[in-house]
């Protein structure tokens, strides 16, 4: 019966402010009942949306990577010697710092998963809590969301420090095509990660404003998957920059 009554709902960020009344439409036999939004379907739809959204993000990075490979192989005309030379000087990457950052991001991916499982459990128990006379205690749990955001911020700060180190070694954005691509790929990844961190922070903060746990769960769930994707993407970018330098 799941395909009986498709429902259009705003994305989870939509209804804050004045419009926070839960949308009212009926269950379809398998749903939780009248007047109660079908969060299962919303979650499925949000995950599908995320899966679709990953395609252009991948295309974006793949196109940069192919530009990298093309540019790496191009000879450059040298006006002094009047010949074509190879001007690609591999950037001296601060390996130890980048490895440490990778460790931070790996840890944040793990905590994001813990946050996702935690809120999934809380959302599953939410109906039980509403039964009169049933108390599950004030189970707030460990703040994995905040830890994830902190670790993500730590990664971004670490990337910033790695940039500083590259600059100390004489590699700026326009120094060499190699360094241009290093800055570009790390910045593009960082911006994507910062976006994810903002959404996670939003999910953490709205818990203070009595947003339904099921709605928050959708935000956390989808962003956690996005976070894992960004971790894998970073590993890919890092390996690419290192092995194809």
């Amino acid at each position: 019966m799941a395909s009986l009554s498709p429902v259009a709902v705003s994305v989870p960020e939509a209804g804050h402010g004045g419009g926070s009344t839960p949308p009212r439409y009926g269950g379809d036999g398998g749903g939780p009942g009248d007047g109660y939004p079908d969060y299962g379907r919303r979650l499925r739809r949000a995950r599908l949306g995320l899966a679709v959204a990953l395609a252009p993000i991948l295309m974006f990075f793949v196109s940069l990577a192919s530009a990298y490979i093309v540019r790496q192989g191009l000879p450059t005309f040298d006006e002094k010697s009047n010949t074509y030379i190879r001007d690609w000087n591999p950037t001296d990457l601060p390996l130890a710092m980048l490895l440490a950052n990778t460790g931070l991001l790996a840890a944040s991916s793990l905590t994001a998963e813990l946050a996702r499982r935690q809120i999934t459990r809380q959302a599953a128990l939410a109906p039980v809590r509403s039964i009169p006379g049933v108390s599950l205690g004030n189970e707030t749990g460990f703040p994995w969301l905040y830890v994830t955001v902190l670790l993500g911020a730590g990664f971004l700060v670490g990337q910033w420090l790695a940039w500083q180190e590259m600059a100390n070694r004489g590699y700026y954005l326009a120094t060499n095509p190699s360094s241009s691509f290093v800055y570009l790929l790390t910045a593009a990844h960082g911006i994507h990660l910062a976006g994810g961190a903002v959404v996670l922070l939003y999910a953490a903060v709205v818990s203070l404003f009595h947003k339904p746990i099921e709605a928050r769960r959708i935000v956390v769930d989808v962003t956690a998957w996005y976070w894992h994707f960004l971790f894998l993407l970073w590993v890919g970018i890092f390996a690419f920059l290192w092995f194809l330098r």
């Binding site: 498709p6 705003s10 599908l48 949306g49 990075f61 530009a67 326009a174």
Partner: protein, 577 residues
């Protein structure tokens, strides 16, 4: 039971701002896109008229504009192309009609992510404002063409308009890319997740298939354009050398070295070629819908049509190199791109054959939407036949920088897609506004537009074969081209008349919106879901219930049926299928 339960999650808005400005309703957003495209197309047409005037009267001083200088001509060319490709051909058929009718045709109450939908419209509008503002900044609009070839586009001192104007152009393209990605994401999720019960993929109208494949193309192509644009901005403003080799501008050695202008071409055309299909596929969908409805026959070869759309979409991603035969690419690559390009002729021919098969033997109703759909087929064939010529490097090299190419892409991508938009407008106007458009003025508009556009663009093929170069602002003093001036003059007059005829459309459109005769819920006796609901559709599209689909989309003249059409929701006769 689900079908009787209220299904709309966001309640109907009350205030004017929430209802018509920052609306979450896909129908309002669709109309917003449509009106944006309507404004854009008149701006774009006006620019083309200035170019046509300049062609034959190069020294004429125009009122309020003055004399058009060569660099102004290039700015007009750039802005005309950019506005038309992005804000008309991509905006109206996909974002406009797609937004309005995709959810209704699959039986959904709205798009999957309404807030994202609203954001994508406002980002598109911002992109348009940023683009047009390039006219008013110091140096004026950029002159690097809609294709933005580096190094012209990558150097801030390569010409007037290449300073702030070019930065605004790139920013606009980047914003448009982001908006298109949001839109594509919404379209794909909506189709995969929000179809009504019984609406299997193979029961979707071909319009929905076209919007679906177009969204996939957009999803994969616009990310690449975005990355190309970012590299261009870095080259222009932060001294990198992705696209710029060692160059000397006005005797001054620039700081760049080692970049490759071809890198831009590859990235741009990897987006640019699918973009051509982004513009034309929705028109193909509408044409299929209209031809079937007005021939009172099922579409000929529904499955073949679906697979042809997919094949065109796939091939669209592997042929970008045919825009670059002039760049000195390896003959082996050129050969591969050439073969792949000519392969597109196969699904295109399947579609054309099926359209003709649909009309053949039908009880054809020659109403305005049908006329435009037939016009689409005509233009698609006329413009398409020159494709296999240009797909061959040996022919493309002499023809590439001539008017032959201008004629080719205007017929197939520009005018054919516009005819798709017109067919859709005349066809869906009754559903959108609850009134009929004037049929007589519609026919007059069609006849003038069809003859007029052929009169403008068909001679371009001859001009090209005679060696008339494109992109040049002035040719009247070039001896070997002087013999072509009468033909150019004819084309300019044809442009005046054709553009004038669009005022008929504009008048008919707005007059009918308020004064046209009231439309019934299903004035064309069509079968798809949008014709089962009220006119105009209520906020949740189906008045509190979701439809259940029992039939395919084109069941006309079904033997044994009570009427000559069977609605998709009609339970009667369902057992037979």
């Amino acid at each position: 039971m689900a079908t009787s339960a209220p299904v709309h999650a966001h309640a109907a808005p009350q205030g004017f701002i929430r209802k018509y400005v920052f609306s979450l309703d896909h129908k309002v957003i669709g109309l917003q896109y449509y009106f944006l495209a309507l404004v854009a197309v008149f701006v774009g047409m006006f620019l083309s008229l200035l170019m046509r005037i300049h062609m034959i009267w190069p020294t004429a001083a125009l009122p309020a504009i003055g004399e058009i200088k060569p660099e102004t001509y290039l700015s007009l060319l750039t802005m005309h192309g950019t506005i038309m490709v992005f804000f008309v051909l991509t905006t109206a058929p996909q974002s406009g009609f797609g937004n309005y009718f995709l959810p209704i045709q699959i039986g959904a109450p709205d798009m999957a992510f309404p807030v994202l939908n609203m954001l994508s419209f406002w980002t598109t509008l911002a992109a348009f404002v940023v683009l047009v503002s390039a006219f008013f900044v110091s140096g004026g609009a950029p002159l690097h063409g809609w294709t933005g070839y580096a190094p012209l586009s990558a150097l801030t001192n390569s010409g007037p308009g290449e300073q702030l104007g070019a930065d605004l152009w790139i920013t606009s393209i980047a914003l448009f890319s982001v908006a298109s990605l949001m839109g594509a994401l919404n379209f794909i999720t909506t189709i995969l997740d929000l179809r009504a019960r019984g609406m299997t993929m193979m029961r979707m109208p071909l319009t929905c298939w076209a919007w679906f494949v177009t969204a996939i193309l957009g999803l994969l192509a616009f990310g690449v354009l975005l990355s190309a644009g970012i590299l261009l901005l870095l080259d222009r403003n932060l001294g990198t050398s992705f696209y710029v080799p060692l160059v000397v501008v006005n005797g001054q050695v620039m700081g760049h070295r080692g970049g490759s202008p071809l890198l831009w071409q590859h990235l741009f055309w990897f987006f640019g070629h699918p973009e051509v299909y982004i513009a034309i596929l929705p028109g193909m969908g509408v044409t299929s819908q209209v031809l079937s409805t007005f021939s009172r026959k099922p579409i000929f070869g529904y499955k073949a049509m679906v697979y042809a759309i997919m094949a065109i979409g796939f091939l669209g991603f592997v042929v970008w190199g045919h825009h670059m035969f002039m760049s000195g690419m390896s003959p082996y690559s050129a050969f591969a791109f050439s073969i792949m390009t000519m392969l597109i002729g196969v699904p295109s021919a399947i579609k054309t054959f099926n359209w003709l098969g649909t009309i053949h033997g039908g009880r054809v109703r020659f109403q305005t939407p049908m006329l435009y759909a037939i016009g689409f087929v005509s233009l698609f064939v006329s413009g398409g036949l020159s494709g296999p010529f240009l797909a061959q490097p040996v022919l493309d090299i002499p023809l590439h920088d001539t008017y032959f190419v201008v004629g080719h892409f205007h017929l197939i991508m520009g005018v054919a897609a516009i005819f798709g938009i017109f067919a859709a407008t005349y066809y869906w106007f009754p559903k959108m506004f609850g009134r009929m458009m004037n049929e007589t003025w519609g026919r007059v508009h069609f006849v003038i537009t069809l003859i007029g556009t052929y009169a403008i663009f068909m001679p371009m093929h001859y001009l090209g074969m005679a060696g008339q170069t494109r992109r040049y602002s002035q040719f009247t003093e070039v001896q070997y081209m002087t013999g072509l001036i009468p033909l150019q003059t004819f084309m300019t007059y044809a442009a005046f008349i054709t553009i004038g005829a669009q005022l008929i459309f504009l008048f008919n459109f707005f007059w009918s919106m308020f004064k046209g005769p009231k439309a019934s819920d299903n004035p064309w006796e069509a079968t798809t879901l949008e014709w089962t609901t009220a006119t105009p559709p209520p906020h949740d599209n189906f008045g509190g219930h979701t439809p259940v689909v029992h039939h395919g989309p084109y069941e006309y003249s079904v033997p044994g049926a009570a009427k000559d059409y069977v609605m998709q929701t009609d339970p009667a006769g369902a057992a037979a299928h």
